[in-house]
Amino acid sequence: MGFEKFLFYVFALVLVFSAVRVITVRNPVHAALFLVLAFFTSAALWLLIEAEFLAIVLVLVYVGAVMVLFLFVIMMLDINIVPLREGFIRYLPVGVTVALIIVIEMGLVVGSGYFGAEQYRLVPHAVDYSNTRELGSVLYTFYVYPFEIASAILLVAIIAAISLTMRRREGTKSQDPAWQVRVSRDDRVRLVRMMPEKKK
């Protein structure tokens, strides 16, 4: 067993373990952290098959951005997940049976017979071969049409998110820095002219 194969098995074991932990730990923050571990290990697996661009993107986007945001949401919302877990044991046998059947059926079709290592051997590349450059050279040329549609989808997502969440509510104590900077003395100070009081 070569060193590479040994690494693969280590990463694969860690990946499966952390993926199972994501759905079994009680604390949602721990679950999110296990998900980070799962992403990180799959990035390592991708590195093993020389897909370094995908590996880096996975770490940067999912670990760096998405999961951090996710953790923030979990911590800020502080959802009580105990009610969500009720009936876990009760539905477990049904769930496991269905999942097992699906896995077996899918294994029969998409197993090694069609998508095994025999059909899809690793393509050897020269030392100076760069995945990133290859991706970049087709992304903005041959795939420019889907790429632009994807950008339109992101724009729609922004419009949707803003139009669904932004509303002006009366009476909120929010600050407007521009207004604060432009404030003049007359807005804040009111000079009151008072007659001196006489002592009796």
């Binding site: 079709v109 998508f115 087709v138 889907p146 549609i149 994807a150 989808i153 419009i159 669904l164």
Partner: protein, 479 residues
């Protein structure tokens, strides 16, 4: 690797709509609420401009560009023209409704235009990538539109259901696409088609991917058993959005079926034909039976949509040129009927009152004979009464099914459309034979009234002279 810039000319309508939608987004920021009609006007002008561009560049022979991701052919152009037409009608019918409900915002039109763009991309898709991206662009706009009325809990619930089930459907579709890609090594539908023809129908992976593709597409179309979202969304969404969801997207979904199943996986016709038979039998049966017990008009029309989807699938599963033409004719006629029916539901509302139940149509004849007549035409056409457009559409589809030897399926369709006629006729009974429960006058602006009249009369005209549109569909599919 040699890169030659692609031919942008065929994509001009899409580029135009995209540019105008972005422009509209910017213009709308500078408008005050009372100037919002400018947004509406620009949106309508965009549709008009896109229609002109499509007509000027109408394809007589298919052109593929954008490195195989885009195809311009007569089927696509014809469907696009009807997409513009029905979207323009949707914008017009819903204008007063949105104003009444305090929803008259720029986002409705911007998202509406992006939805139209998504449909155009779906209609002209020539690779599985553009199929998926176009579908997502449309779906995302629709989710946001359904949720737009934030103060309505029903709308939020509908949006949530639609979003979750829609995402599930997209997942199914993507999984199917990845299987097809794995088996053929390409997303280009032409290459996929060649590879499938080479490998034959006994490749298990292809059939496996096909199942997921069909499931994903039926989710989006709303065919039984993947219809659960449809009644809730139709009922919960603001009626202007129901009008939008119920009309033009069906044309795009039809195009998607044609591109993926017929153009891409035509060799597997034996496999998908059986799947579509099951889907259409279930849709026709369940749609017609459940619609009978509905009292809410939007829910009833949702179930009627499900049964119409079943009939549409009959034409596609026939797998013959006449079947495809019949299905295309059916899709176009259905969209005209749906726009008219939901348009009537919208128009009879007024400030503080929305038409929700079938009973709200009671005695419409006494209040406005002309509107009652138009509603009669639309309902008769949906039921498939002879000399209406809907009758001819059903006739052609059933004929296509008989011609491939599935007589039992045609008989089944006939029996259930007779059963289905019951609930359409119940609306007609409400219109003409019941006493009105309200006496408030109906206010409809002139342009809307002209449009709905044209809409209803078009259904009569298409029923009397269906050959023109039918020939147009058939020739569009030929080249």
């Amino acid at each position: 690797m040699n890169f030659v810039a692609p031919d942008f000319m065929p994509v001009v309508p899409e580029l135009f709509v995209l540019t105008m939608a972005c422009l509209l987004l910017v213009i709308d920021v500078f408008l005050e609420q009372r100037q919002r009609y400018i947004t509406y006007g620009v949106a309508q002008l965009t549709l008009l401009g896109a229609a002109l561009l499509t007509l000027v560049t109408y394809a007589h022979a298919p052109v593929t560009t954008m490195f195989g991701h885009y195809i311009k052919d007569a089927m696509g152009d014809l469907l696009k023209i009807f997409i513009y037409l029905s979207s323009a009608a949707v914008f017009l019918y819903s204008r007063d409704y949105l104003r009444r409900r305090d929803l008259f915002k720029g986002e409705y039109y911007v998202l509406g235009l992006f939805g139209v763009l998504g449909m155009m991309i779906m209609v002209s898709a020539h690779s599985l990538l553009s199929v998926y991206l176009g579908l997502e662009l449309l779906s995302l706009s629709l989710y946001a539109l359904v949720a737009m009325d934030r103060d309505s809990p029903v709308a939020s619930e509908a949006a949530m259901k639609y979003f979750v089930l829609g995402s599930l459907a997209s997942g199914m579709l993507l999984y199917g696409i990845s299987m097809i890609y794995g088996a053929t090594g390409s997303v280009d539908l032409q290459v996929v088609s060649d590879a499938v023809a080479r490998q034959g129908a006994d490749n298990l992976v292809l059939v496996f991917g096909l199942v997921f593709l069909v499931v994903g597409l039926s989710f989006k179309l709303g065919a039984v058993p993947f219809h659960m979202w449809l009644p809730d969304v139709y009922q919960g969404a603001p009626t202007s959005v129901t009008l939008y969801i119920g009309s033009a997207p069906k044309l795009a979904a039809f195009a998607l079926m044609m591109r993926v199943l017929v153009d891409g996986l035509g060799t597997l016709q034996g496999d998908w034909q059986q799947m579509l038979i099951i889907l259409s039998v279930l849709s026709i049966a369940l749609g017609n039976l459940v619609a009978i017990v509905q009292t809410n008009i939007k829910r009833m029309l949702a179930y009627s949509t499900i049964s119409h989807v079943g009939f549409l699938l009959l034409g596609i599963l026939a797998g013959s040129p006449e079947g495809y033409a019949a299905a295309m004719f059916y899709a176009i006629v259905y969209v005209l009927m749906a726009v008219g029916a939901f348009g009537m539901v919208i128009m009879l509302g007024r400030t503080g009152f929305e038409v929700e139940n079938i009973d709200d149509f009671k005695g419409l004849n006494d209040r406005s004979p002309w509107l009652a007549f138009l509603m009669l035409v639309i309902m008769m056409s949906m039921a498939g009464v002879p000399f209406m457009a809907g009758f001819y559409a059903k006739w052609m589809v059933l004929q296509a099914v008989v011609n491939i030897g599935l007589v039992w399926l045609a008989l089944f369709g006939v029996v259930f459309s007779v059963i289905g006629a019951f609930y359409y006729l119940r609306v007609v009974k409400c219109l003409y034979f019941d006493k009105p429960e309200q006496s408030e006058p109906i206010h409809i602006s002139l342009d809307t009234e002209i449009a709905i009249s044209a809409n209803g009369l078009l259904l009569v005209a298409l029923g009397l002279y269906p050959t023109a549109l039918m020939t147009w569909c058939a020739t569009a599919l030929l080249n």
